[in-house]
Point group: C2
Chain length 314, copies 2
C-alpha cells in the first residue's frame, strides 16, 4: 500500500499578503504550491489536500455586504460563505493541480469534495467567540446588528472598527471521511475539508444545520488525517521551520521535536496564537492519534531533504 | 446491480419565483425537493443529483458587483462564480438530503463533488453569446466595460438596461465522471455537475482554464447520465407534463413520447426556448445515447404512478 499524506495549504499558498485576490494572482500562487507536491506524487504517495480560506471567505462576506447595500441581495450565514469558498478554491486547486500534472506528463486524477464538519454546540468555544470575520462596522452599526441577530461584536485592536466574532469550535467528525480515504487510496488526489470544513451541528437529534463558526483549518486537516489513517501530515506555511525563542538572539530552528517537547514549548508560550501555536497543536494531535509524523514546512521546501520541522511521538 | 438514476433539480427546486433567496427559503425548498426522491431511494436506486444555479449565480454576481463598488474587492469571472454556487447549493442539498434520510431512518451517505466540465472554444456558441448574466448596466457603463474586458452586452427586452451575455456551449466531457459513477454504484447519493458544471477549456494542449460561459444544466446532467450509464434520467420542473399546443384550446399533455415524435414537435416549435425545449433536447440525447427513458415531471409527483412525460426510444 502506498503511503498516504494529508497536506494542508496555508493562506499564503493561495493569496500572498499584499495581493488583492484577483483570480490570476490566486491561480499563479496555487500553481506554484501544487508544483511543490510533485516530490510526494513522484514518490507514489496517495494525497489529500486541505486548505485555508481566510482571505477568500473575508472577500465573500464583504461581497455579501456590498450586494445587500447596493442590490438588496440577502446576506448568507458563515456556513454558506465557507461552502462557497470550498467550491471556488477547491476548483482552483483542482485545475492548477491538473495543469501541473499535465506539464510533467503524470497521470493522476483529482477530485474536490464539499466537506461538512460536525461541531458540538456545547463546545466551550461558543461561550467565548474570538474569531473576527467580515466587514468592519461603527459601534452603532454593530450594536444595531447585534440586537437584531444575536451576533457578537468586538472592537478591532488596530482601531479599524467593530467586527463580528464567531466561535472556533473543535471539529468532531468529518463527513465523507470514508469516501475521501477510499478515493485517495484509489490514487486520486482529493481536495477536502477546505477552510476547516463547513461547520454544522445537530439542532435536533436527527436534524443537521449550519452554525456561525469557523473551524481551524489545521485542526480539521489533522483530524481528517487521523480519521483516514494517513501516514504523514504536512502543514505548509511561509517559514522554513518552527522556531523557539523566535525573533530573539536565542532563536533556534527546530528540526525534530517530540510531542512531549512540543507540549512543553506550547506551555511556555513559545508559539504565537493565531499563527504557529494552532499548527503545533494540530501536529501533536495527529501524532498522538497514531500518525507517523507531521512536518511543518515552507511550501517550496516540501521536497527538500530535512526541510521543515518534524513532530514525532518520541 | 441497482438501477442508476440521474435527477436534475430545476431552479424552482431551490428558489421559488418571487422569493429573495434567503438561506431558510432555500433550505425549505430543497428539503421538500429532496423528500421527493424518497420513492427512488426506497426502491433501491443508486442516485446522482444534478442541479441548476440560475438565481444563486445571479446573486453571487450582484454581490461581486456590490463588493467591488463598496469595498474594492476584485470581481471574479463566471467560472469562479459557478464554482461558488456548486459549493453553497451542493452543501444545502447534501444537508437537507441527510435530514430527509434521518427523518425516515434510512441509511445512505451523500457526497458533493465540485465538477468541472470541458467545453470547446470552437463551439459555434462562442460566436453568438446569448445567455444574459449579472447586473443590469446603463448603455454607457456597458460600453465602458465592453471596451476594457471584451465582454459582450445586450439590451434587456423588458427595458431594464444592458446585461452581459455569455455563450452557452455544449458540454464535451464531465470531469470525475468515473468517480461519480463509482461512488453512486457504491450506494452514495452523489451531488455533481451543479449549474451545468464549471466551464473550462484547454488554452494550450496541456493547460486548462476557466472560460466565460454557462452550460445548460439539463444538457450537462444528460451527458453525465449517459457517461455513467444511468438507466433513467429525471428532469424535475414546475409543471406536471410536457404539453403540445401549450396554452391553446388544443393543449395536450404528453404521457409518453418517442425520440422521433419529440424531434418532430421540437421542429414545429412546440416547446419554448429557454424553458421546455432544452429539457426535451436533453431527454432526447440521453435516450439516443443508450438511456432507457427520461422522465420530465413536477418534483412532487416524482413517485406518482404515470406522472410526468416519458421520453423513450420507440
Amino acid at each position: 500500500m502506498n503511503k498516504l499524506a494529508v497536506v494542508a495549504f496555508g493562506g499564503n499558498a493561495l493569496l500572498k499578503s499584499g495581493q488583492k485576490g484577483t483570480v490570476s494572482e490566486q491561480e499563479d500562487n496555487i500553481y506554484e504550491t501544487c508544483s511543490n507536491l510533485l516530490d510526494l506524487i513522484k514518490k507514489g504517495y496517495d494525497i489529500v489536500i486541505g486548505h485555508g480560506n481566510g482571505p477568500q471567505v473575508g472577500n465573500v462576506l464583504l461581497q455579501q455586504e456590498g450586494g445587500e447595500k447596493v442590490f438588496g441581495i440577502p446576506k448568507m450565514p458563515v456556513d454558506i460563505a465557507v461552502a462557497e469558498t470550498q467550491g471556488s478554491i477547491g476548483y482552483m486547486i483542482e485545475q492548477q493541480m491538473r495543469n501541473v500534472l499535465y506539464k510533467e506528463d503524470l497521470e493522476r486524477d483529482i477530485i474536490t469534495i464539499v466537506t461538512q464538519v460536525l461541531v458540538d454546540k456545547n463546545d466551550p468555544a461558543f461561550n467565548n467567540p474570538v474569531k473576527p470575520i467580515g466587514p468592519y462596522y461603527t459601534k452603532e452599526e454593530a450594536e444595531k446588528i447585534a440586537k437584531k441577530t444575536a451576533a457578537k461584536f468586538q472592537e478591532d485592536a488596530r482601531g479599524r472598527g467593530w467586527r463580528k466574532v464567531v466561535a472556533s469550535p473543535r471539529p468532531v467528525r468529518i463527513n465523507n471521511r470514508k469516501s475521501i480515504e477510499k478515493l485517495a487510496r484509489d490514487g486520486q488526489i482529493v481536495v477536502a475539508v477546505g477552510g476547516g470544513g463547513i461547520p454544522v451541528h445537530y439542532v435536533e437529534p436527527n436534524k443537521l444545520q449550519g452554525i456561525d463558526a469557523v473551524i481551524d483549518k489545521d485542526l480539521a486537516s489533522s483530524m481528517l488525517a487521523s480519521q483516514i489513517r494517513a501516514d504523514e501530515f504536512y502543514i505548509l506555511t511561509d517559514i522554513s521551520k518552527v522556531f523557539i525563542n523566535f525573533n530573539t538572539p536565542e532563536q533556534i530552528a527546530l528540526d525534530r521535536v517530540t510531542v512531549k517537547q512540543a507540549k512543553q514549548y506550547l506551555s511556555e508560550g513559545q508559539f504565537a496564537e493565531g499563527s504557529m501555536a494552532p499548527k503545533v497543536r494540530a501536529a501533536i494531535e495527529f501524532v498522538e492519534n497514531g500518525g507517523k509524523r507531521c512536518i511543518i514546512t515552507k511550501a517550496n521546501e516540501l521536497g527538500v531533504a530535512n526541510a521543515g520541522t518534524r513532530i514525532v511521538l518520541s
